[in-house]
């Protein structure tokens, strides 16, 4: 028990590594915020474009989506970091990671939004269009409110699981939380910083999980 406390909950090392870890936490939060905002906005936009039913456009969207659903995010991060410079584009490691997560969440959330859109009964389209409502307004005011309510559970689920991948950024030397913890562990030869980082990850993502439950309940107007 003593050894457990010394190696994993060593208050002395926790205090020493805290500043570095807090810096890492800030970076993690930044990546997470960009991922959620950028990923969901892009995903929703792609789903709305797909609703236009313009065949060539839909094909392009589906190709993009399938590609980013199929390739592991880590591979994409490496490609951005190691391969892009040869094409003349030198991305900051922070953006290699963040862009990867944005594109990944966009692809996954596009499919989820699309599933919601096509699940809305055709009669809803017909009712709105029969009153003279144009396509765009029908999509925005009649279809999307219903589509989004349908897909909130899988959407919040996937958003959290992809946002957690911020830790992948550590492999391209982004000073986010995991990277900092790893470094501190090396300095002090004690895994306590890693434990502290784990608790910080929990503190960051558990509220997100609870918030998603609240959203599910709040918008589930199901009879």
């Amino acid at each position: 028990m003593d050894r457990l406390l010394h190696y994993y909950f060593n208050l002395d090392y926790m205090a020493k590594s805290l500043p570095a870890l807090l810096g890492g936490l800030a970076v993690t939060v930044e990546i997470a915020a960009w991922t959620i905002l950028g990923g969901l906005t892009l995903g929703l936009s792609l789903a709305l474009l797909r609703a236009l039913r313009i065949a060539p456009l839909s094909v392009v969207i589906v190709c993009f989506v399938d590609m980013f659903r199929a390739i592991p995010p880590l591979v994409v991060i490496f490609l951005f970091y190691f391969a892009l410079p040869y094409a003349g584009v030198a991305l900051d490691p922070f953006w290699c990671a963040t862009l990867t997560l944005i594109l990944n969440l966009a692809a996954v959330s596009e499919e989820i939004f699309w599933a919601g859109i096509v699940s809305v009964h055709r009669g809803q389209w017909e009712a709105a269009r029969s009153t003279g409502m144009p396509f765009g307004r029908t999509l925005l005011w009649v279809i999307m409110p219903q589509a989004i309510r349908l897909v909130i559970p899988p959407l919040t689920n996937k958003t959290i699981s992809i946002t957690k991948m911020t830790a992948l950024a550590s492999v391209v030397a982004v000073p986010e939380l995991l990277n900092q913890a790893s470094t501190e562990q090396g300095i002090y030869a004690n895994p306590t910083p890693l434990m502290l980082a784990a608790l910080m990850f929990l503190a960051l993502f558990l509220p997100l999980v609870l918030a998603s439950r609240w959203v599910e309940r709040r918008f589930g107007w199901e009879r």
């Binding site: 009964h121 009669g123 809803q124 009712a127 029969s130 009153t131 409502m133 005011w141 409110p145």
Partner: protein
């Protein structure tokens, strides 16, 4: 003729259907149908399942795209290239068998939506008009109710109010009571009858023979994609001219 040019002699005609055909692939649902509906007239379309009655109705506001033929509503050719179909649809009210109410909006919200987004009315005016329409169908106490809180008959009446609020020139009813429990049918039919008495031009596809008899000026019998015969209710129901009509009526009026 460019879209929007009124056709001569159309003043009295609200709907003119010429040579309308509709095929789904190789299956023909409508064969060169001709039909005219005059202002203030109530036309009932009856016939067996698959006869094309609903398809015909849905072609009038182009919920179904005709394969061939022309459709004129108030003189405007809806099948012409470049026609503003959204503008045309404001003049055509459509009531669905399955109601198709917006579940995320209240009764008032359902009726208000097109008033705000299509007619671009101000908020207060839209609310007033929506409530007036709901009053007309007898739902003054249900403004704030969601569709899931309403009975089938009430939901259909909201559907009627939603179409009525736009003050269309013609109302189309696609089997308005077929999805209702029998005891709820009457309340919807009396709303339709009241509209008829106020002079609304309407086309009703229905299985309610008694209702067609009471309310319609003209009954059209369809079978296998064509109009077999049309006449006043009195004539068609008591002295049908064609054998197919007789067969159908014999099967249906037995109940």
């Amino acid at each position: 003729m460019p879209a929007g040019t009124p056709v001569a002699g159309s003043g009295d005609e609200v709907v003119r259907i010429q040579g309308l055909s509709k095929s789904y692939g190789t299956t023909a649902a409508l064969h060169a149908v001709n039909l005219t509906v005059r202002r203030g007239e109530a036309v009932a379309i009856i016939g067996p399942s698959g006869s094309g009655k609903s398809t015909l109705l849905r072609c009038i506001n182009r919920l179904e795209e005709p394969t061939e033929g022309r459709i004129f509503v108030d003189g405007l050719d809806l099948t012409a290239r470049g026609v503003d179909i959204n503008k045309a649809r404001r003049e055509i009210g459509f009531v669905f068998q399955a109601f198709n109410l917006y579940p995320h909006l209240t009764a008032q919200g359902n009726v208000r939506l097109a008033l705000r987004l299509v007619l671009r009315l101000g908020s207060a005016e839209a609310t007033a008009r929506a409530r007036a329409a709901l009053d007309q169908v007898g739902l003054s106490d249900k403004y704030a109710s969601y569709p899931s809180q309403l009975s089938g008959g009430q939901q259909q009446r909201v559907g009627i109010a939603r179409a009525l609020a736009l003050e269309p020139k013609i109302m189309l009813f696609d089997e308005p009571t077929s999805a209702l429990d029998p005891e709820l049918v009457g309340e919807v039919l009396s709303v339709i009858a009241a509209m008829r008495d106020r002079g609304m031009t309407m086309v009703i596809v229905s299985h309610e023979m008694q209702f067609a008899r009471q309310v319609a000026d003209r009954v059209v019998f369809m079978n296998e994609g064509s109009i077999v015969e049309e006449n006043t209710p009195e004539e068609l129901f008591t002295r049908p001219a064609k054998q197919r009509t007789r067969d159908f009526l014999a099967r249906v009026l037995r109940h």
